[in-house]
Point group: C2
Chain length 301, copies 2
């Protein structure tokens, strides 16, 4: 039977289905299917291009502080540029506002966004402001990355170690999802000194986002249960499935991994390894037993 | 008294207020305040960057054909790139879908968008798909333009003639707003052969969009009532205030205007002239009498 509803096909089924027929010129380096698109730019650099849509009641409470809403809208896109190993440059911002929205609230959204833009030297260069039934913020962001420093989801090799940049789980109840620092400076240190083979930011949850790396790299992975760093009061399930942690998840060769262990400049946690085979995910408990895991996580449908 | 609500300050008051405090790196050629942002790119070219947010019930009926919705979402952004004299290259698409949305409807949105993307050699390189209370489509679009061909809103000079590329008014009832062809090929002919001094696309209405050129160029204008081309069944008021015509409105020197009159490659209508003085708009009737006109038009608040 053909799927008819969005919940039958799911968010990632939908994206895969839509991506199939989509128009792409030949010069595009990477289109749909990574944290940001990769486009031709200069001799030394690629251009990065990403978009994130946030909606009240889905990504933040309709009563949430405006500054935090604006901050998060830009931070999500910054996190995408970080996941490619890049530096963010310019953003355009679309805002849909309910008729009853107070001017001060809109100004707060911009203030929150602008504060983070300053912090990361990003210019807000344009936008679109409309009336809409619910509060919506879309940030489209450009970045750039040296050709030699670009990291895709597709580069993980068997034998690579898997790392995350911070503890995971309970990002919503702790409000980390509103106040997290996008890992741009960590990403730059990584690509400059530690050559990650694959990278993604954790927005849908560790299991789902590692699943994306496995999908694109055509590999499997083993996660060591006891090595996964948990946020305060978070369970293993929270870490695996909650999403919106916005930490970086990356892989490196075993050789580079050793260098990462012996340094203090960058706080990272080794949580497992890449193995051969097609897109399977296993948990290894403290006795060494393996258990298969579905790469589920947050999905919109 | 300080404005407290969006309707007190209005859409353009809001944009001006938000733009004031916004963060901008020094290398940005043009930020907020034109049809697209202008960013440094190569030795010969600038990069163009624009975003358009469309929402069901505002920009299209919630029951509208999906293909036309997708087509319009991309067409609006293409029109922005045309207004800068540029060529469109890559788009990222954010879609917010109500839970009850049928899969076929979403696919239709993409089909409509994709058809137009092919026609204008634009790559759809990424996106974001979320659940939201109402149907939302945001297209962020990149383009490029030779440095010598860039046209801003700010270049109109006293004595310049004012042109539009097609008849105006009643775009909503006639559904032109869903099916219009963005004037990219006309824009390229114009910048290559006729050096417009200022250009904008008519989205808010002739009076409001000419108002934007006058604002940025610090000039005034006289429109000849009898020369304004009207769409079928449209009144002068429809042409002046309806909006969503997506024709190009541009100015050229009187010398270039003569060349435009004597050619057939490009259908344009001369509708008035730029005069000295600060941001005033006049209508001239068939007896030569002048009447001041407020540059009002469609506004979201």
């Amino acid at each position: 039977m053909t799927a008819r509803t969005l919940s039958e096909i799911g968010e990632f089924g939908l994206i895969a289905r839509l991506a199939k027929g989509i128009h792409l010129q030949k010069n595009i380096i990477k289109g749909i299917g990574d944290d940001a698109a990769v486009l031709p730019f200069t001799k030394e650099k690629h251009l990065l291009f990403t978009t994130d849509l946030l909606c009240a009641g889905v990504h933040f409470s309709a009563k949430e502080n405006g500054r935090l809403v604006g901050r998060k809208a830009l931070a999500c896109s910054l996190s995408d540029i970080a996941a490619m190993g890049g530096v963010a440059t310019s953003a355009v911002v679309s805002i849909g506002l309910p008729k009853t929205c107070r001017l001060r609230y809109v100004e707060d959204i911009y203030r929150g966004m602008n504060g983070l833009a300053k912090e990361f030297c990003v210019s807000i260069v344009g936008g679109d402001t409309i009336q809409s039934p619910c509060l919506i913020v879309n940030v489209a962001l450009l970045g750039e990355v040296e050709r030699s420093h670009l990291v895709l989801r597709s580069g993980a090799k068997a034998g690579d170690k898997i790392f995350v940049t911070g503890p995971l789980g309970r990002s919503f109840p702790t409000k980390k999802h509103l106040s997290f620092t996008p890992r741009l400076s960590e990403a730059r240190k990584l690509v400059q000194s530690f050559k990650p083979s694959a990278m993604i930011d954790i927005s849908d949850g560790l299991a789902a986002d590692l699943g994306h790396i496995l999908q694109e790299s055509e590999k499997s992975a083993i996660l060591d249960v006891t090595s996964i760093p948990l946020s305060k009061d978070a369970t293993l399930d929270n870490a695996l499935f909650d999403g919106e942690d916005f930490e970086l998840l990356f892989t490196t060769s075993a050789g580079v991994a050793k260098k990462l262990f012996g340094q203090n400049a960058l706080k990272v946690f080794c949580i497992g390894e890449i193995v051969r085979g097609p897109r399977k995910l296993f948990l290894r408990d403290n006795r060494g037993y393996l258990k298969a895991l579905k790469p589920k996580g947050y999905t919109h449908f």
